[in-house]
């Protein structure tokens, strides 16, 4: 699949934003959050900004953004519509939660309830995003049991790394969150590796099945049109195996390994808010961003669409 920047940015940015929102919401509901208006402003502000930026960016991807409101109508059947509905609905508790926290403190009853609702909305929105991909049968790299947990884990891991950074920078450290970040990173990492493994060994439909010819090797010898068309531009994207392997290593290094090490250093280095843990937490965020973008780029670029079979695209990963 063509790795469109708007979609990569949307899924990563809003994913992290929702993760951050969810963690802060649950944290608030569970009474684990320090009552810091600063934390609320920076943390929730960032979460909402990232969510909003992601959503806006996803509308850039639309041919007719002015008609985007129509996308709320088909929540009964369409995950994309559900995502739209939930993302908007989530704003309600999210705004109450953020405003309430800043104005009335995190421990106000309605703030905690709003926090919980915002967290549920955020996670549900991430689920809908994941389900958009997971439900696309023509793309077996996505329509498998890993997509949903990976999206959730990524959302939470990136949210946690962010939260860790924010906490470090603001005055209200919650040391437990560091360990949470580490756990989420490990889960996301494990899931992602498993997803890659799964995809690498997928038995995909063949050109013989795509054409109904059934047996033997079916090779494309002429395209219907000599130049690339919409289908090829959108779904014929191919990334060389070597290149992909390198990018996977980079993604793992930047999104998982390095943040993990940095956060560990921070955790072991002593009291929060001292120089080293702050630096480590910030570096973890800085490392995570390109790492997750790379992972998401690969998520699209490595995904193989059955439509490309008609154009003779090899269904095995190319060298």
């Amino acid at each position: 699949m063509h790795p469109a920047f708007s979609v990569i940015f949307f899924t990563t940015s809003s994913g992290a934003g929702y993760g951050l929102l969810a963690l802060m919401g649950i944290g608030a509901a569970a009474g684990l959050m320090p009552d810091s208006a600063m934390l609320a402003i920076v943390g929730l502000g960032l979460a909402l900004a990232m969510i909003t930026a992601g959503l806006l960016s996803s509308t850039f991807h639309l041919g007719h953004p002015e008609r985007a409101w129509r996308a709320f109508s088909q929540w009964r059947s369409s995950w994309l519509s559900r995502e739209g509905v939930l993302s908007v609905l989530t704003y309600i508790p999210a705004v109450i939660f953020s405003g309430g926290w800043v104005l009335f403190g995190v421990d106000a009853g309605f703030v905690r309830i709003a926090g919980l609702l915002a967290a549920l909305g955020a996670l549900a929105t991430v689920v809908t995003t994941a389900m958009i991909y997971a439900s696309l049968k023509p793309i077996p790299d996505w329509s498998n049991r890993f997509t949903l947990p990976v999206y959730l884990a990524f959302s939470l891991a990136t949210g946690a790394i962010l939260l860790n950074g924010i906490q470090a920078l603001t005055v209200a450290p919650v040391p437990a969150l560091r360990w949470l970040a580490i756990v989420f990173i490990l889960i996301a990492w494990a899931l992602k590796v498993a997803a890659w493994r799964h995809n690498d060994s997928l038995a995909l439909p063949t050109a013989a099945s795509a054409t109904g010819l059934g047996t033997g090797e079916v090779r494309s010898i002429e395209w219907p049109h000599t130049q690339e068309n919409y289908i090829l531009k959108e779904m014929g994207y191919q990334v060389a195996r070597k290149h992909a392997a390198r990018l996977r290593r980079i993604a793992q290094g930047l999104a998982f390994a390095l943040p993990l090490v940095l956060i560990l250093i921070g955790a072991l280095a002593g009291p929060a808010a001292t120089f080293l843990p702050v630096l480590a937490a910030v570096l973890a965020v800085l490392s995570m961003v390109p790492g997750v973008l790379t992972e998401r780029w690969l998520f699209f670029a490595e995904a193989r669409h059955t439509a490309a079979l008609y154009y003779g695209y090899p269904h095995a990963r190319t060298k």
Partner: protein, 976 residues
Amino acid sequence: MTSSPAGANSRPSQRPLNTTVAPPEGDGVETSPKVADTVKRTTCYMCACRCGIEVHLDNGKIRYIGGNRKHPVNRGVLCGKGSAGIMQHYSPARLRKPLLRTGERGSGEFREIEWDEALKIATDRLANIRATDPKKLAFFTGRDQSQSLTGWWASRFGTPNFAAHGGFCSVNMAVAGLYTIGGSFWEFGEPDWDHARYFLLFGVAEDHDSNPIKIGIGKLKERGAKVVSVNPCRTGYNAVADEWVGIRPGTDGLFVLALVHELLKAGKIDLDYLIRFTNAAHLVINDPGAADDGLILRDAAGEPLVWDRASKSAKPANTRGVAPELAGSFEVGGRTVRPSFQLIAERYLDDAYSPDAVAERCGVPADQIRRIAAELAHAAFDQAIELPIAWTDMNGVRHETMTGRPVAMHAMRGISAHSNGFHTCRAIHLLQVLLGTVDVPGGFRSKAPFPKPVPPGPKPAGKDGGKPDSPLSDMPLGYVHAPEDLLVDENGGPIRIDKAYSWEAPLSAHGLMHTVIRNAWAGDPYKIDTLFMFMANMAWNSSMNTAETMKMLTDKEADGTYKIPFIIYSDAYFSETVPYADLILPDTTYLERHDCISLLDRPISSADAPGDAIRYPVVEPDRDVRAFQTVLLDLGARLGLPGMVADDGSPKYRDYADYIVNHERRPGVGPLAGWRGEIGDEHGKGAANPDQLDRYIENGGFWKYELPEEARYYKMANRAYLDFAHRMGFIDKAEPITFHLYSEVLQRFRLAARGHGDVRPPESERARIDRYFDPLPIWYTPLLEADVDTGALPLHALTQRPMHMYHSWGSQNAWLRQITNENRLFVHHATAAKHGIADDDWVWIESEHGRVKGQVRLVDGVNPDTVWTWNAIGKRHGTWGLSKDAPEATRGFLLNHTISDLLPAKGAQRRYSNSDPVTGQAAWFDLRVRLVKCAPAEAGMTEPQFPDLPAPPDMPKSPKVLSYGRLFRKLRAAAS
């Protein structure tokens, strides 16, 4: 039984729903939008197939072009090109106004001029030529459908130097057929699609009978008839064939004669048919050294003699009740004579023609050849059919049924475009005739005006080379019957600029358009003044040796004048040839003009129904262009050509439409056969009818005459048909037509080469004539192949026509070019492996003559010794309204650069044209090449490259986005 609806696609599974009332759905979809305010029925010209189209117009714009179900050619279907007509009509490459060259020839610099100035320039030049030496005008036309007009114009002008495209196209098909069975493959005959059980297709990718062949193949497939394709390439029709014989190019003659060998050996031939319809029983004089050796023994009246088994004596072949002998040797008047069939049998029973002997050369296993022979015999004899149709033969004998031998064959340029194609095509006809499958149910059938007597008439005019201010005695193109008919001077040298009808190509019934530019440039046999061309892209894809052709067109004498002093060209579009002319006469598109698809030319007949058709303007030109035929008549009138001016010197014809209606070639015979006579109640012959065109238009643009059932087969000997053909003026006399398996015409040339007769070839030509004018089909290695080092050039290289592209015209078409805008060289996997070539590699394709660079695509479906590419996709930078970086010019390549127009030099000997030695047919497919993998730095761009050509003045820029059809949506929205 309900009567089935008209049209080709009318199987129950192709008809409308049983109720076509829109179901209630409530989605607001307009299911009955207005389609058109006008529908005009005319004839397609996206190619030369002549299908009937319905042009749907809404507010003067073409909404849609559909097929005309009632039309005999396409019966409602359309090909890929036909449906893209809108984009041709609105092509950005359309010429807009007459152009006069301002820069150097070939630079593409022009200025626009008015028609009056253009016509005056042309008239002054041509008047001078006509008054001094009319042959200094060489008038050559391409694939137009008005050769009866253009040929007539040339003959009235008085130049013998006229021809159309047939010489570089498929004259081998035409001549081999006409000199053998009085008809021909190509578009002049058709398989009996409704009855054939076994179909053998030789060397066809598309043909001029584009839709009829497709409809026919559909029928065969539906009936489960077996389709066998003989073709080095497995694409298109050959891909759907039940059996693909991936033959080595140029060897079909051997393959076919091996089939003949098998059939003869097994006695699987139709002796009765041979006696009744062919010259198999005619007695051939066997008297080596005599002036009539090898000719047919005739009585005083000229009737061929046969050996009557009953009386054991020679009798005229037309004697009632004669029982001719087919084999043996007899003495008549002290001379030894043998039925020609004896010669045939002796020759092809020889083991040299056995499957085992030819298999390796053809690349076809001997067992496969044997099996195909057995299948042919099985279908022809064991599955013979009998149609319950009574008919009367030319002896007045009534037959209650028609016997059918359901084996049909068809062949085209894969046979034709080789220098041995004439003989190979004769071999195919021999095969058909031995099986008794010509013009019988299930076999190959002629379309009116064929069959014609063998050999056909009339003879070519212009033997005197043309006289000042005088017309020729007849049409410049015709059929020679003997050396006396050649157009040669007293030294045996050619009289025509293209050397047609000379010893180099005696039976060149279509001329040799492919030699004109070189000969005019070289002044061989003489210099000309003006080269006048119409509708042929000679500076690109219809020339061999394209790069040098461009040089010849621009080459100058020492005094700075051009070697070809003046070039007039009529094109409708900005093709590669436009920049090489001095004066451009811009033509209309096919939707803007009158045309006439005439029985005098290349009509729309089917085997069941002679017919003809017109085109008429369905939209008005929006540019200052004129229909070429109208311009030609205008020029003729300005020149005062006889027949084109009235007695008072005024133009006789207002325009081409006027000519179509009022011109009479012979009394009562005009361009159109339908609705003749003052009130339009006659067909064939009759007085001019002023309303004729209206009648055509009312009838959907065509006329056809359904032959009565009894006249549909056995046309060569069918009284009902031959009487009809005579009445219509197709043939001069209602006499039976005898197929010439043994060709006396060829033998006459051979005798001349052996020193007999008054007109003899010069010494230097004798061996060649003697060799190639064998009265029976022979096979020889294609000439170029025989002359090059095939070890160094191990591969055959071919082109094929894409079904959706017409030569170079298609690339200006926004829709068609999306389908193909660059071409690959298709190479067999195994061959590529041997050469170290991988898929997508760039290679040099090198011949003895030149090289061209292209990109490879590996396939299985090709003869391993053959590589091929799509024809005429490669374009020159800047032309056809395409951007300079268009793939057609950057990656598309033209194989023609590697094809020499001359055979390789052999010592001091004159270099012959790369053509068939009998007919002059250009031998495009004799090409031999090697592949050389490109250096990495060379990949990505084709070569050779030529300078960009600037667009003519005022040609609008091609649009960046096309939204054709938006208007109709607006109109619909406005209406609702």
